[in-house]
Amino acid sequence: MWNQRRTDEFEGMAAEVVTISGHGGDAVSAYLARPAGDGPHPGVVLVHHMPGWDELYREFTRRMADHGFAAICPNLYERFGHGTPEDVAAHARSEGGVADEVAVADFEAAREYLSAQSYCTGKVGIMGTCSGGRHAYLAACLTDGFGAVVDLWGGNVVMPAERLSEKQPTAPIDYTAQLSAPLLGLFGNDDSSPSPEEVDQHEEALKEHGKSYEFHRYDGAGHGFWYYDRPAYRQEQAMDAWNRTIAFFQAHLG
């Protein structure tokens, strides 16, 4: 929970960029933050959003570490070159983004990296916002190593056929039968992707396949309500969603 640390409690954190071996053996940069000390701590893989491997996600990664997780956020845009997050993201967008297959392999590599560390318990969850929410869900369906998944307003989990592409050949909802981890979904009711109707569809699929999930839908919030650097930020809903996210991972990975 937010702001519940005792004032006489020791705290410390280590944060740095490390290199993991991603899809195809590619060297992929990843921002790693973990509580100081030997641990062991549960792990979380953070999946950045379309605007890239940016300052916001480094903060999110440190926040998860501050709440007791070994947290890692791989640079999904590694293969698009280096520059400011905005320049890299613009180039990635012009190239159609990251292929689902590549992204999932990179998350699996990040999970394996954490699991191999002495300070990690080996129980690792995955979370993401926007395209990262979709990616996180996809990873929890296509791999079986994650202990919990949090999808924050992931658009394009439900995809009509005309939106499928070479890089996104299958709608994530079609993999629901393979979902291997309990899911927390957090959505804004004013969002257009996922729309409330698409969230309904997703929920129906989860029920149909008997999956463990919790969905929370916020009135007065749209897409990206965590992003305090954007007008979409909604303070009350964001703080509730952060607390739910941390509590969910603590319950399933602790």
């Binding site: 379309m50 320049d87 012009s94 897409h223």
Partner: protein, 91 residues
């Protein structure tokens, strides 16, 4: 949502970026989340030179209404160029 809607135009010309003028070879036009403009979605114009590095980019983020207004202004200027300054129509 992250729409990933992108259209590309090959262009010739120049743009002035953070490090001065550079030659352009492409404009990427997307309808997606902007980085700075205060909209959920915007028409994002990235004037780039792929060979000159990722920072060879001039970014413009417009509301859809503004983008349409810009299109009309470009069209009007070209039409006047044809009518008043000997520009070939290019049609």
């Amino acid at each position: 949502m992250c729409t990933m809607i992108v259209e590309k135009a090959k262009v010739a010309g120049s743009a002035r970026g953070a490090k001065g003028w550079f030659k352009l070879d492409q404009v990427n036009v997307s309808y997606d989340h902007p980085s700075n403009a205060q909209f959920d979605h915007a028409v994002n114009l990235d004037f780039v030179n792929g060979a000159a590095g990722l920072d060879a980019r001039v970014a413009v983020e417009l509301s859809p209404e503004s983008a349409r207004s810009l299109m009309r202004a470009i069209d009007a200027a070209l039409n006047r160029g044809v009518a008043e300054a000997g520009l070939e129509s290019g049609e």
